[in-house]
């Protein structure tokens, strides 16, 4: 478990990372949503981190957000997008968000990322983690859950 006073800083760093990646790489502008109303059929990607902090980050993309991101950067239409492109985009986005989050959270410490893993399409009732957040875009939503296993 991590001490409670760390969590607001971590949550804020994660939120900033999410904004930065979505705006810079995918031209998607996010708004926080007060209610974590999860949609059905979310594409989930998990990435682990290790070092002075260990844990995992799981990011959930709604299908319409994923399409919006792909359409923005690659100009592809729905019929042109296959699962490989969807999975690749979700994994790469998660990788960048995780890297950016750790840089903002602990800029002086060496925390390593694992290779992101696609967990498939998930139907969640509730997000599980030390902290969670959900953001809304012009089209679709993105949610994330961050868990810490150990802090040394």
């Amino acid at each position: 478990m991590v001490s409670e006073d760390i969590l607001p800083r971590a949550r804020n760093a994660f939120k900033q990372a999410l904004f930065e990646v979505m705006e810079k790489m995918y031209f998607v502008f996010l708004e926080p949503v007060s209610e974590e109303g999860l949609e059905e059929g979310l594409h989930a990607v998990e990435v682990g981190f290790s070092g002075p902090w260990e844990g995992k980050i799981t990011v959930y993309f709604s299908p319409d957000l994923l399409f919006f991101m792909i359409n923005n950067v690659l100009g592809l239409e729905e019929r042109e997008i296959d699962d490989k492109v969807r999975i690749d985009t979700a994994k790469e986005c998660t990788n960048m968000v995780a890297g950016s989050f750790l840089r903002k959270f602990e800029p002086e410490k060496a925390i390593h990322l694992s290779i992101p893993e696609y967990l498939g399409v998930q139907h969640l009732k509730k997000l599980q983690g030390e902290f969670t957040l959900t953001m809304e875009a012009e089209r679709g939503r993105i949610s994330a859950a961050v868990s810490f296993y150990r802090a040394t």
């Binding site: 690659l74 790469e92 950016s100 840089r103 060496a110 990322l113």
Partner: protein, 125 residues
């Protein structure tokens, strides 16, 4: 700066390769080839002349750092400019990359302007 140079993009994510390819095209580079990891990149580097390498750090099979070391250890490839792309800007990684002879590195997420700046700096344009 010669915009006709052949650039190799190495990244295990096809979408990121396409994103970088699109940015390079915006900047004016048209001669672009791709590889999905370090192993495929080395094969390509042995079979055709590549003028500039842009490689991701975090890849399965062979990391960007391992690819960089292999390139620098090969006398035919050793002088090829190498731009490392990374999601983690760890000091120890930067030091390791500099020691291995990286030309420059860029942290994701990045904008087209930043990528252009890095390439221009390396090519001295």
């Amino acid at each position: 700066m010669d915009k006709n140079i052949k650039i190799l993009i190495v990244d295990d994510f096809a979408t990121m390769r396409k994103v970088i390819r699109n940015i390079l095209k915006q900047i004016g580079f048209e001669n672009i080839v791709e590889a999905e990891d370090g192993v495929a990149a080395l094969k390509l580097l042995k079979s055709q002349k590549i003028d500039f390498i842009i490689a991701d750090w975090n890849m399965p099979n062979m990391t960007g750092l391992e690819l960089l070391k292999a390139v620098r250890a090969d006398q035919d490839l050793a002088s090829t400019p190498f731009l490392m792309v990374t999601a983690e800007a760890l000091q120890e990684n930067v030091v390791a990359a500099v020691k291995a002879g990286v030309s420059n590195y860029i942290v994701k997420p990045f904008t087209a302007e930043v990528l252009n700046e890095k390439i221009t700096k390396i090519l001295g344009g």
